[in-house]
């Protein structure tokens, strides 16, 4: 059984009179320990796919399973604690709460666990250490560079040791040096810590770092190797 199983998912958005069909029967598996880059033109449904996996949005029909639990049919009260345990999410921007320090931001998911104060502090420091920002713990987001902010966001995404790390264009607003830092970090998380990672990106260099690249176009997933041909991924 794959870690993430997407089965026959339809998703459409209603905007006033017209309906936008993003996927019509999408099926896809992601294995544990995989590191997948998701590419595709704007509006092809990349963000929507991450949202469905994280339970932030629901498919119109079809099922999304993560570790065997059917995310697509959970209630919002069930989803919140499930998400805290299972998903680490990083957006393109606005990830951090501006009123909290780096340390407090990273600690946020741990507040939802039963860990004591001391344990939370330890884990937070480890996570900040992994992203190389142990010396910036007491800085507020506005005192950090864009790349550092994204690394804090990644520290928060990994601190509770989730099953799956989802990143939606995490390097979209970074210069090449900062992007490099972030990509390097993701690579290490996958290599050394065996984290399952899915990253949405427009940047071919970022995609190169992943173990697999998927191309989403008109609601259909194509593997990079198949791009020249026209095969449809299962």
């Amino acid at each position: 059984m794959a870690l993430v199983e997407i089965r026959n998912v339809y998703k459409s958005f209603k905007r006033e009179a017209q309906t936008v069909d993003v996927y019509s029967g999408l099926s896809m598996d992601f294995e544990e320990g995989s590191y997948t880059a998701l590419m595709g033109p704007s509006g092809s449904g990349k963000s929507t796919l991450l949202n469905l996996i994280a339970g932030l949005d629901k498919p119109t029909s079809g099922t999304v399973r993560v570790e065997g639990s059917e995310v697509s049919s959970m209630t919002s009260a069930q989803l919140a604690p499930w998400r805290a345990r299972t998903i680490g999410f990083v957006f393109q921007s606005y990830n951090l709460l501006p009123v909290l320090t780096a340390h407090q931001n990273v600690e946020l998911p741990l507040l939802l666990t039963n860990l004591g104060k001391k344990e939370r502090a330890e884990r937070t420091e480890i996570a900040l250490g992994v992203v190389g920002l142990a010396d910036r713990m007491d800085h507020f987001p506005r005192q950090l560079s864009g790349g550092q902010e994204q690394r804090v966001a990644i520290a928060r995404a990994i601190v509770a040791d989730p099953t799956l790390i989802l990143l939606d264009e995490p390097t979209g607003q970074l210069d090449s040096k900062s992007s490099e830092e972030v990509l390097e970090l993701l690579r290490r998380l996958n290599d050394e810590f065996h984290k399952t990672i899915m990253i949405v990106t427009h940047d071919a260099k970022a995609a190169d770092r992943a173990k697999a690249v998927l191309h989403l176009e008109k609601g259909v997933l194509l593997e990079r190797s198949q791009l020249s041909g026209a095969g449809v991924a299962t």
């Binding site: 994280a54 919140a80 805290a84 606005y94 501006p98 507040l111």
Partner: protein
Amino acid sequence: MKFLPLVIANLKRHKLRTLLTTLSVTLALFLFASLRSVVTTLSAGSEVSSASRMVVQNSTAFVIPLPMSYANRLSSVPHVKAVTWANWFGGKYGDGKKFFAQFAIDPASYLAMYPEIQVAEDQKQAFLKERAAAIIGEGLVRSFGWKVGDNITLQGTIFPGDWTFTVRGIYHATLKEYGDDQFMFHYDYLYEKYPDRVTPGWFIMQIDDPTAAPGVAKTIDDQFRNSNAPTKTGTEKAFASGFASMWGNVKLLMSTIGMAVVFAILLVTANAMMMNQRERTSEVAVMKTVGFSDRRVFGLIIIEAAVISLTGALLGLGAAALLPIVTGFGQGGFLPGFHVTIGTMLFGIAVALLLTIASGVFPAWQAARLPVVQALRRVE
């Protein structure tokens, strides 16, 4: 409470806004408690009055006196055990800026009827013996520094002339609502100077059974109905609140103003809370993505509102409670015994909780039902 740092951080986001919102709640509750205390103090004044004391006054107008001959006729009414009388003097001391009440009383019978007025036995005897003697409340000692043996000259307004009294006693009011800023002297002293004008302003009777009061009142008022000084008899409580209503419909006015103020502040606070929340839409979305449940998000925002309203409330109620003590306002003047009751404090806390709900629930509910995906699309 591990979420507390989160609440505090959010309160510190706009320090000035938080401070101003808190201060407006402080002001609202200060005004609320002060205005309500005027009402409770006035009502308490009428509560003090012993249920077994009744007052007879002229039914035509409170200021028109009654014939002295009524004293004997009142004492022969069934259930009436004792009768005394008093007169309003209305004098002025010095520049007259500090007001205090002066009564001419029938000394022995009056003091016997009012156990609330406590005077040392030797002072009492000295007062009873001397025609121009006066007893004064402890409040007047505080205000004017008078002491036993002082000669005090008042200017009569109703009864013209300079009137000099010698302080022979200082009384302590066992019930502070009774007031300890009264100046009392011999009725006979007044009568001597104006024998053809002075008759009792009102009579006070002790009855042996409070439940007989309505019957007693009817008997007396019927008896004098067709005389040229018809009477209005009631319990002392009714008499005291009659005094209070001379101020106009104070209670209604105060309560209305109090409520209007609280309501206005409520709108200000609710508005500030909603502005706060609107700015934080994307942050709420991030918290939910991290795994905060809708209920937790709701709770955190309510707590934030509660911290503001309860802090403001405690400051406002505390100030209202301390003010009469620090300034001595409760000691004299028109509102003897002015103080903030426990009831008013609890009422104030209840108002603050209501404020929390009113200002916090709407933004909290909005944040709780905010769909993450929608919220993030708006900002990105």
